[in-house]
Amino acid sequence: MVHKVDNSEQLGQYPHEVILRTTLLRDAINSLNNSAVFSTAVTRHSAASNPFPLRPYFVNGQSPGINQSAETSLYVDSNRADFAKVQSSVPVEVRMPVPENKEVVDHTANQIGGAIGSQLDVRDIQSSLDQIYAEAGQ
């Protein structure tokens, strides 16, 4: 993610065109990275707003019984890398979108796990999530 430069002393050293151009480039890459093309289901929202049927997923294979509301549910968002940063103290149920459309499934998998082949099973996504959470110290 590209961040805004707010150091006015630094900016003052450059011609106006350079500032214009770098600002435009920053907006352009953010616009591209934030395009809905790269999103499946986004962040925290109610299950009702999810266009796909949901399948419960529990962190590190922990069993159900976690009492949590829709607000604490974490949805896989292919456009955000920070979904693994959820506080470990917050009970989290991860729900996976399970779309009918295979292309969307492939896309989701590629976003999560990198080079996952086209012969994808939803279980592959779950094991990828397990790995991500394990690496994040969940």
């Binding site: 430069v5 011609p15 065109e17 151009r21």
Partner: protein
């Protein structure tokens, strides 16, 4: 009157200078952008650059087997809900795979120009 004319000329020159500088920045970026996809094939001229905050352009020129110059300009329009590709005035929605490749290329482009031209101003 003379002063007014002089100010007008100076103003025009100044505007022209600014426009030239901006265009040159894009030209230089396009050269860097051409290498984002690896080595440019011999006999090809390639440019890849950001035109405006919603448009990315990939331009390629080469001579075919019969020596005829071929030109292909592909424009990607980034919209909030889709990315459209335009070639020869024909629009089509890009696949997720192609959108991912465009994103990868655009991010490499930004990294490179940021490092090589803008002294890290973007990041």
């Amino acid at each position: 009157m003379f002063q007014k004319l002089l100010n007008g000329i100076i103003g025009q020159r100044s505007e022209q200078r600014h426009a030239d500088l901006y265009r040159n920045l894009i030209r230089h970026e396009a050269k860097i952008g051409s290498t984002v996809f690896g080595a440019v094939p011999k006999g090809h001229r390639r440019e890849f650059f950001c035109l405006d905050e919603h448009t990315w352009v990939w331009h390629e020129e080469w001579k075919d087997d019969s020596g005829q110059l071929q030109i292909r300009t592909t424009r990607y329009d980034v919209r909030p809900d889709a990315i459209l590709k335009s070639q020869n005035g024909h629009y089509q929605k890009v696949s997720v795979a192609e959108a991912q490749r465009l994103r990868q290329a655009a991010n490499s482009y930004i990294d490179r120009v940021n490092r090589e031209m803008y002294n890290g101003l973007i990041a």
